[in-house]
Every structure is written in structure tokens, then in C-alpha cells.
Symmetry: C2
Subunit: 346 residues, 2 copies
């Protein structure tokens, strides 16, 4: 028997409340929440960029250990980061929720507060979505729209043999932060373990995991300045995401692992735990840094402008022919870059 999809009256009240709290008007928005569809206007030639994520309870987040506000914040960052990797300006947001009975209305509002906290610095406006009951877990779907001028965006497919591979910021911090949080909630946690490195490093890594930043300004700078030949954001980890650039561009890559940018906190964590910081940097996901390629002739402009802007951009390798595969080198030794897989939990 197929139940009808008509909404319970409480849902309409929830939608009205969310609209009142979180929706607002902006130039170009013709119709936000409250009709069959949201309507936006474009008056000049433009490229629209659309990214969407579906997040499932027990897969992407755990309501027992993560606050709804943090879940919302991180969900928004994942999508903002996709637009950063295209060099786009984020504009509009659609959010859908399937809500189990046990999730309270205040939790739903907290989730939206987290989402909008991440979006507000960029002026992103909530224009629509859907709410539904759920008989099982909480599910969230986010669709984010951004713009660039016509014929000007960063793609995964533009890398050429000889291009230099760069990464923004530092790598592996989010995974280290995730493991620290996991350890706090596990029974194995002990005072000794916690005190092995400084509270400062500890808080830095946890913040990098719970409150990552999307590299929106950096992406727009790379795009408008025509500095990058290809780009992707690091959501799956360096190993997985570099593979996407190579596949879409039909090339191989060589990563100089001694050049990978590591934060002092990540190094300290790795030392205290007896793990390889390079391993954290290669396999750790959700750093939301930008991985991009730069043609040799743009290399000096990139380095000069990055310095002027105060952006940390690190040269970590070179694009090679496809037959080279994807390899990592260290002090003359070369080996295939390991694939990450979903089985790696933090």
C-alpha cells in the first residue's frame, strides 16, 4: 500500500517557521520558499554551478555524538567547498530533511542554524527545500547554486602533462581531529593519552574537523586570475581526489610526499600516536582544501600573488603522462600512491 504524500499540518507550520527564521530576500530572487518552485532571475550571460549532497544518519553523521548545529555546518561546508573548487560564487541554497519522530523541532532549528552559519559569510540565501517524516534515520539533502561569468570556471579535466600540482592549507588535520574526538568517546580514552601533546594542538585539530573552512576566496582567485588549469576540493582525501583529476584529464601524477604541507599540530599528533603524518595527509578526507594544477608559465604569477594575498599554497608534485600512473616519491624512491577506500573509518 502506497501511503499518500500529503504533508501533516505540523510540517506546514515547521516550513513557515523555518522561512521566517532563515529565508531572506536578495536581488535576483523572484520567489523563495512558499510556492511550487523557487524562482531566480538571470539578466546577463552567466554560468550556473549546481552541487548536491545527500547525508545519511549513521553514514555521514551520528546524532549521538555530533551536535545538529555541527552537522549542519559541515554539510554546508562540503557543498561550499565544491563551488570553491569550480571558482564559483555561492548564491542560493535548497535544503530537504527527512525527520524521524524522535528528532525535536529545536534540533531541526539548530541544524539550520549550523547550515546558515557556514553560508552567511558568502551571502547565500535559503530559497527552498522539502520536509518529510522518516520512519528510520535523519536524512538531509542540500543543493547549492553558485555562479561564475560565462566561459570561466575551474574543472577537473584541464590538467596537462608538465603542470605543477598544488594544494592549499595543510592536510590530514581533519582526520587527526576526528580520531581525537572518537577516542574521547571510546572507553580506551585515558588521561595519559590525552596529555601526550598540547591542548593547543588538540583544539586546533578538533576545530579543523568540526569547523572546516571552504576555500571560496582562493577558488575565485584561481579562477578569475586564470591561474589553475584544473581543480578539485579535498573531500575524499588527496589520494582519491587526485585520482579524479587524473581520470578526467587523462593524465598521471607524481606526488613528492616530503613536500606535503602538514600543520605542527598534525605532526605532533602523529608523533604522539606513532602514526605516519604522511599517511594522514594522503588518506585523510574532509580537509576541504583545494587541490589544483598550474601550468609552468603561470607558476611564478601564482607564487607571487599567493604571497601577496597571504594564501598558503604548496607545490606538491607534477602532472605526468597517463602511463606513468599515480605515484609518490620520497628521496628518490618511488611507489604507487595508495588508494583510499570507504572502509577507513577515522
Amino acid at each position: 500500500m502506497a501511503p499518500r504524500t500529503a504533508k501533516p499540518l505540523q510540517e506546514f507550520a515547521l516550513i513557515r517557521g523555518l522561512k521566517r527564521h532563515f529565508a531572506r530576500h536578495t536581488a535576483g530572487l523572484v520567489q523563495g520558499i512558499g510556492d511550487d518552485a523557487a524562482v531566480i532571475e538571470t539578466t546577463v550571460p552567466i554560468w550556473w554551478h549546481l552541487t548536491t549532497d545527500l547525508l545519511a544518519e549513521g553514514i555521514h553523521f551520528d546524532l549521538k555524538s555530533a551536535a545538529p548545529r555541527s552537522i549542519g555546518y559541515r554539510a554546508a561546508i562540503a557543498n561550499l567547498s565544491d563551488l570553491a573548487a569550480m571558482g564559483a560564487i555561492p548564491r542560493y541554497l535548497l535544503i530537504s530533511l527527512a525527520i524521524p519522530k524522535q528528532v525535536s523541532q529545536s534540533h531541526i532549528y539548530d541544524f539550520y542554524r549550523g547550515l546558515m552559519k557556514a553560508c552567511r559569510p558568502y551571502g547565500v540565501v535559503l530559497i527552498g527545500g522539502d520536509t518529510s517524516a522518516s520512519k528510520t534515520g535523519l536524512f538531509l539533502s542540500i543543493t547549492l547554486l553558485g555562479t561564475t561569468t560565462k566561459r570561466r570556471a575551474l574543472f577537473r579535466h584541464g590538467a596537462k602533462v608538465g603542470d605543477l600540482i598544488y594544494v592549499s592549507g595543510t592536510l590530514g588535520d581533519s582526520l587527526a581531529g576526528c580520531r581525537l574526538l572518537a577516542q574521547d568517546t571510546s572507553r580506551r580514552s585515558s588521561k595519559k593519552n590525552r596529555s601526550q601533546f598540547s591542548q593547543f594542538h588538540r583544539q586546533f585539530l578538533i576545530r579543523r574537523h568540526l569547523h572546516p573552512t571552504a576555500r571560496i576566496a582562493e577558488g575565485q582567485w584561481l579562477n578569475t586570475g586564470r591561474l589553475a588549469s584544473a581543480a578539485i576540493d579535498l573531500s575524499d582525501g588527496l589520494s582519491g581526489d587526485l585520482r579524479h583529476i587524473c581520470e578526467e584529464s587523462g593524465v598521471g601524477a607524481e606526488v613528492e610526499i616530503d613536500n606535503l604541507p602538514l600543520s605542527p599540530a598534525c605532526r605532533a599528533y602523529a608523533k604522539a600516536r606513532g602514526v605516519s603524518p604522511v599517511q594522514l595527509a594522503i588518506t585523510g578526507g574532509e580537509d576541504y582544501e583545494l587541490l589544483f594544477t598550474v601550468s609552468p608559465k603561470s607558476h611564478h604569477a601564482l607564487e607571487r600573488q599567493a604571497k601577496a594575498q597571504g594564501y598558503r599554497m604548496t607545490h606538491i608534485g607534477t602532472i605526468r603522462p597517463r602511463r606513468f600512473g599515480i605515484q609518490m616519491t620520497s628521496q628518490g624512491h618511488r611507489q604507487p600512491l595508495p588508494s583510499t577506500s570507504y572502509e577507513h573509518f577515522c
Copy 2:
């Protein structure tokens, strides 16, 4: 502990397969599936219309009784119908799925086949989405984009006192079809029950439930011809959806229930089951007909053009001042139009 969101390798293979089978190129599409975001181009001033639905297993569909292809088809129609109510041309589709282990890949493909079957007549192109594992049920999120020319769309908020209320097609068929299917799968089903009215009527109602039509052409005709002052699609049922028009327009309404368009099959079903066909028409959802208002001065043009086009459009009432409320009249008797609620299962 927050698990990492990196995708299992099988998911990338699934995405590649879906892209190969269902994605295709079209003018204006710069980048489809395969980058951080989909990219579409607009060169002339235009309005974009965006609608999104999140469908939850056990709430919107039941995998035990409905085929994946049918679930996909009906999910697409719900979104196409939203665009029909705006008078928009459907263009692009994003689909996200959270997939439990027990759902096979062939089921996923069947779901997409159903979706694309509904979309293909309108040239809608699949440009992106997301796939995720699910530890509980199957969840689907659909985002559909359409266009109209600038400053030309149908909204819920345009109804004025004195406008005539119209509806396309016939009402209550989907609910009757849903009940027939539910009865087939329940233990109470008997041969006697089934033979109470003709197979022809039976099949008509079940088809109206499983294979509804979105009134895309009718919506565009109402919009471009400036025939309607407000419009909505009937997904929640006449009672609920008329209420949306009244709220957004700040008006009341009077529905002449003796004028409600009923199919011969719906009348026969109601007679055989001893239920009121008017009740089916008022509370039945998912008919995906258009409910719209027409100013008295456009009334003759609408009737004439509808006849010429072969569209069935029925005058069912009149917009009244807000203080009038939403009432139904029959042979001089007047009473409030009952509210539907989610608790009504078919």
C-alpha cells in the same frame, strides 16, 4: 565517532554506469555528471524555477508493494507537476540516492529508468546528483530545474476576489486507484469485491495512480497566454492545495462541489464502495491536475482556447474575500471545506 564521507569504490562505478546510461548532452549544458558541480549556461534574461522533493521509504513508497520503476516515475511526475504549476519548461534534473545494502544495482537502474521515462518527453537532462550508503531505508532526493521567460510565471499569490476557480482533468482518480491496489494486497480482498465494477474502470484508476501525467503543456499554455492569475498543482488534494492559493493570495474561496469533474471510473468506484465521490475529489492527492484562478475578463478566452486545444478545464468555484473563508456549496447549502491531514492513508 563521525565516519568519513569518502565513497566506496563501488559507488564511483555506479555513478559512471548511471552517467553512461542516463546522462546526455544538450545545448546550454557546460558540465554534467563528473565534476565538483554541474554547470549550465544562460545567455538571455531568464527565470529559473527550482523544485525539490525528498522521498522516504515507508513514508512515500513501499519497496515491498511498488516497483522501483514506478517509484521513480511517480517521483519525477511530482516535480514535473510543480514546474507545470509555474508554467515552466522542465530542463535539468539532479538525483540523489541513499541506498541500503539489500537494494540491488538493477533496482537502482530501474528506479532511474522510471525517472527518465517521465522526464524524456520534455527533453529533461540528468546533470548530477549524489549517491550514498544507507543503514536504514532507501531515500531519494530530486531537484528539477525549469525556465520561463523573465517576468512570466504562474504563482500561488495572484488570485483576486471575483476570479473564477478552475481545475484541469478529473479529481479523485489517484486515491481510488491507490485504494484498489491496497485492497489487492490486503487479506480482505475477495473476488466479489473486485467484480463490483468493470475491469476498464479499474485499470483506468490504477493507471491514474501509478502513471499520472504532469500538466506541463497546459501550464505553459496558461502562462504564456496570460490566462491564469494564480496556479498550483494538486499533489496534496483540492482541499489542501486550494488553501495554499488562498493563504498566499490573502483571499477566501467558494467551491461548487456539484461542479467537481469526476471520471466515470471514479463515480463507478464510489458507487460500488458506497463512498462519496466528492469526498474522493476533495481529499484525494496525487492527481497532479492544475488548480488555477482566472480573472472574469479572461474567462471567455480561456474557455474558447481550452476547447480549441482539447484541454478539459472545469469551472469549480469563485475566489471570495478572506473573511469568507474556504467553503463548499451544493444546492444552496454551504459548509466549510474540510481540511485534509496526513493521517488519511488511502
